[in-house]
Amino acid sequence: MQFALLIYESPEAFATRKKDENDLYTGAWRAYYKALVEAGVYVGGDPLEVPETATTLRVSEGKRRVQDGPYADTKEQLGGFVVLELPSLDVALDWAARCPTASSGAVEVRPLAPETKRRVSE
């Protein structure tokens, strides 16, 4: 089954994106990505641009409301996601614990919902 690891990063972690590639956090992610690929569990994923680049839209009672910034106003913000093919939640949590962001931000583990996808796509 497939799990998404939703990567919630601290402002400090987002800031490392401007640093050079030898930065420890970036190096740790490079190694983590490699470990996922070599273990044959990596399905896909992508980092997201920094939260300041987000624009959030809502339509209520016919009115469009557009807001600068991300949907949730929290210290840690969604910074990217990884989709993994794994046998169980136990194994997913093992991989989440190895994620470099787990020790500075948070990693949310969620199963993908193929049933729901089928209902909307067929």
Binding site: L24, G27, A28, A31, Y33, A35, L36, L89
Partner: protein
């Protein structure tokens, strides 16, 4: 009643709960085999204590008070369940014992039986340690779940299932007899050591998961030793854990960075803990039966010797690992052996030991890759070393270890 008295009562309840929890649960469940029922009854008694003790003052024997109260609610519960027929003898037993006269004196310590029940072969191996932590030490499912990286709800359900199996599966509360004893004791020791956390003694890697349970594990080993003072391996296990625990302060630098064992400052090691460990190792040796935990403790003892001699006797460590590989051929043992061989006879010899491990087996084992990377680096094989470091970093859970490996990788 003043605020500080209230605090006193809270502290007393906490202390009694901490010291007596396992004894009370073990005693109550040894009659009924119903561990969950005993825990519920005891937690009701603890709540009652928090309510009544501030008003009426502390009872003379708080433990006996808790036992009487827990026993009463257990009897009420059984009556309520109308399981009278089946449990009539148990009810009688509980009632007969519940006179104040009995309580003024000691009640038997059944924790040893409870430990053997928790590590019974009929119980899922993965649940041995969580069960012990909960029933003997009273840790809650959420805390245990964190240590084992399991969702709290799932851990709660697995604990309930295991306790149901104890109650309904005919698992007897008894200390196994001679022929069975070594294997059954082995399971108890393994479960306690699992709580201590793997990787305390490893070479360049570590797994943090079990770390905050280290003290609980030492407590469990002390309980076990009190109940089985003549078992060499119990002394061995305690010696091993004390040696590792002695180094807690030295394992991190001033900025929280990881410090490998060979670079730790021995002045930061706890001398009293090391001495206590050595006493247990001596005591174990007197029984003349070697074993896995004694060998592991002996390896740690050689490392501890550096505090006095300033050097590490790698040849002695290699000899202990050779014996250890024979009786406990785990990935951790092989990896430790390889690292020791490399120190004693050079990186090529160490790599040869690593290469003998079946390929694929070590794919997800971080210390293997950390040692491999280190040895390749020493041989000047830079691309291969960097690749192995990446594997180790990608598998590391602890930030300090990750950064240590990344810095070595360069």
């Amino acid at each position: 009643m003043s605020g500080s008295d209230q605090e006193d009562v809270h502290r007393t309840v906490e202390r009694v709960a901490r010291e007596s929890y396992g004894r009370l649960v073990a005693y109550l469940s040894s009659h009924t085999r119903d561990v969950a029922g005993a825990e519920d009854a005891l937690s009701e008694a603890l709540i009652a204590a928090l309510k009544t003790w501030p008003r009426g003052g502390l009872p003379r024997n708080p433990e006996a008070w808790l036992l009487t109260t827990a026993r009463r609610s257990l009897i009420d519960f059984m009556r309520h369940q109308r399981v009278v027929l089946a449990s009539e003898p148990t009810l009688l037993l509980l009632k007969e014992n519940s006179t104040e006269a009995t309580l003024a004196t000691q009640f038997p310590d059944e924790r040893l039986k409870l430990l053997f029940v928790c590590a019974h072969p009929a119980i899922d191996l993965a649940m041995h340690t969580p069960l012990m932590l909960q029933t003997v030490l009273g840790l809650d499912a959420a805390r245990i779940a964190g240590a084992f990286l399991i969702p709290p709800k799932t851990m709660g359900q697995r604990l309930v299932r295991a306790k149901t199996k104890i109650r309904d599966g005919g698992i007897r509360f008894e200390v196994p007899q001679d022929r069975e004893l070594p294997e059954r004791l082995g399971a108890v020791l393994e479960a306690i050591y699992a709580a201590f956390g793997i990787g305390w003694d490893d070479v360049a890697g570590t797994d943090q998961r079990g770390r905050d349970l280290a003290e609980e594990a030492i407590w469990l080993a002390r309980v076990l030793l009190q109940l089985m003072p003549d078992e060499a391996e119990v002394h061995g296990l305690l010696a091993l854990m004390l040696h590792c625990e002695a180094r807690r302060a030295a394992r991190r630098g001033p900025k929280g960075q990881y410090v490998p064992l060979s670079q730790q400052d021995p002045n930061q090691w706890s001398l009293p803990l090391m001495e206590e460990a050595e006493r247990h190792l001596d005591e174990a040796a007197r029984h003349g039966r070697s074993g896995r935990f004694q060998l592991e403790a002996a390896i740690q003892s050689v490392h501890a010797e550096r505090a006095r001699s300033g050097r590490i006797e790698w040849a002695a460590i290699v000899r202990f690992y050779e014996q250890l590989v024979r009786i406990s051929p785990t990935l951790g043992t092989y990896t430790g052996h390889a690292a020791a061989v490399a120190e004693a006879s050079g990186p090529n010899a160490g790599l040869a030991v690593l290469d003998a491990i079946e390929s694929g087996l070590a794919n997800g084992y971080q210390p293997y890759w950390a040692v491999r990377a280190h040895l390749l680096q020493r041989l000047g094989k830079r691309p291969e070393a960097m690749d192995a470091y990446d594997r180790a970093v990608g598998l590391a859970e602890d930030r300090a270890v990750r950064e240590f490996l990344l810095q070595k990788r360069g």
